[in-house]
Amino acid sequence: MPTVFEAPEINWAAIAPMLVVMAGGLIGIVVEAFVPRRRRHSVQVALSVVALVLAFVALVTLTVDNRVKTLGGSVVMDGMSVFLQGSLIVFGLLGVLTMAEKFGGDRPDAFTPMGAAIPGSAYEAAADRAGLATSEVFPLALFSLSGMMMFVAAGDLITMFVALEVLSLPLYVLVGLARRRRLLSQEASLKYFLLGAFASAFFLFGSALLYGYAATTDLDGIAAAITETRPGLEPLLVPAILLVLVGLLFKVGAVPFHSWTPDAYQGAPTPVTGFMAAATKLAAFGAILRFVYVGVEGTRWSWEVGLAVIAALTMVVGAVLSVTQTDIKRLLAYSSIAHAGFILVGVLAFSTLGLRGVMFYLLAYGLMTIAAFAIVSMVRQGGTEATQLSQWAGLGQRHPILAATFGFLLLAFAGIPLTSGFTAKFAAFAPAIESGTLGVVLVVIGVLASAVTAFVYVRIIVLMYFSDATSEDVVAAEASPLTTAAVAVGAVATVVLGIVPGPVLELAAQASELIR
């Protein structure tokens, strides 16, 4: 029986960034209740930005010097947590900027005036006339972000599960709040929710079996248990690890757990898609890294091949299916699936260099993704987003800067040299080659898959520049400084990380330590 309860020690400096983001979300709820409607939007945006900036400041001033395991081992603030949380805050900031975009209207352009109203009903029209706006998206995004920050720092499986739900539940709601094509948006929300809940049940049952095996849910406790013999419990171990991995791989959208990705990405409001694509992927890979590197590396031989097969399938299926897409958002979704495969190759290197490569890849990919989706949200026909590829024909002639930026981001997705995509792929693939035959095979598949995706991206560039417009009324909406800033940051970061990746790679190298 346990002895007297002892309160765990809490290192407040280490967890300050998470607390600030969470507090921002909570204050946002209060703002939602008390601030008059017409000022709510600007207050919420300002509050979110302030909270995120404060969290970043707390991270670089307090947390970096307090790399500890705290809260009784359930939160581990090591180099990886700090780097990934910093990236998450940046993604959150860019995401909030794109979500706040009004495109000259009187309210956020991407979100429905009233999420609860039936699409096309009189109630919705009345809400629209009354000037309602769903400014609660900002607290929701902050809550989701705080869950992600907890997810990458979770030191035991239950914290990880709670963080998984904290990050997912607000996202399910955000996905369903699109202003136009609301039926699609609601459907995307339903699919994302049902499959997400299904996957988290797998994660939880896997955790239960691991708890049965190791008598603890601490990742380092599990690692210690794996090195001992545990009579009668051995059969639990591999199924448990596989079930947990299923839950985590679902979140990154790895094949065969990817079926939600294109639907959720297409149906969600485009700024949410960008935020989700960048931040969820990073958070889920952070959790995979910690689970795999800290928790269960001791029994790697028994599941490594399975993970390698999933990585290969993810790259191939993502690349091949992106060829057949006609919708730009679905295309980027399949591209994100392929990227999940590339990142998995880096994870499978099982080395400090691999960790560095994966972290760099996640940062670079997230920045270009948010910028790319921000551009997608700008291209309009008749007031709605022109997501059909055919509508993008000839865009380069009318909007040369926009098309050039998008083309550049596509080249970065493809991994062309002098873009961050190339550096990232190199940083993730090089350690995999050194890790052995399996790594070499995966890298070969990865390079071939990259070639296929490069074809897709180049086809879009050709479409934008060398074909005639099908209709004249496809235009890029006049973006406010908010979206422009998000796109600029993403594009500039893609250039800088491509040409002088040294400092950030160095930062990632310093951060690639895991406290066990």
Binding site: F161, L169, L184, E187, S189, F193, L321
Partner: protein, 99 residues
């Protein structure tokens, strides 16, 4: 009765829940399948806690119950929104998004 039987029971419940999710077409029933899977995990947690002579597993079960109820709130809200706009909670009717 041996404690292992509870583990078998939880595995069976988990499988039934999984089958419900994959086979049934009504979103509410699918969601009930997910809840069954979560509760199967809870049963496993509690049984293992008993086996190891610890309280941890029981505490975890409480956490899971809280998270599951939060999930119910969000899930039912989404299903309600879909039902009101389509007059149907069938997930086969939700087929606008296609490759």
């Amino acid at each position: 009765m041996s404690l292992v039987n509870y583990i078998y029971l939880s595995a069976i419940l988990f499988s039934i829940g999984g089958a419900v999710v994959l086979l049934r077409r009504n979103a509410i029933i699918v969601f009930m399948g997910v809840e069954l899977m979560l509760n199967a995990a809870n049963l496993a947690f509690i049984t293992f806690a008993r086996m190891h002579g610890q309280l941890d597993g029981q505490v975890i079960a409480l956490f899971v119950m809280v998270v599951a109820s939060a999930e119910v709130v969000v899930g039912l809200a989404i299903i309600m929104a879909i039902f009101r706009s389509r007059r149907s909670a069938s997930i086969d009717n939700a087929n606008l998004l296609k490759a």
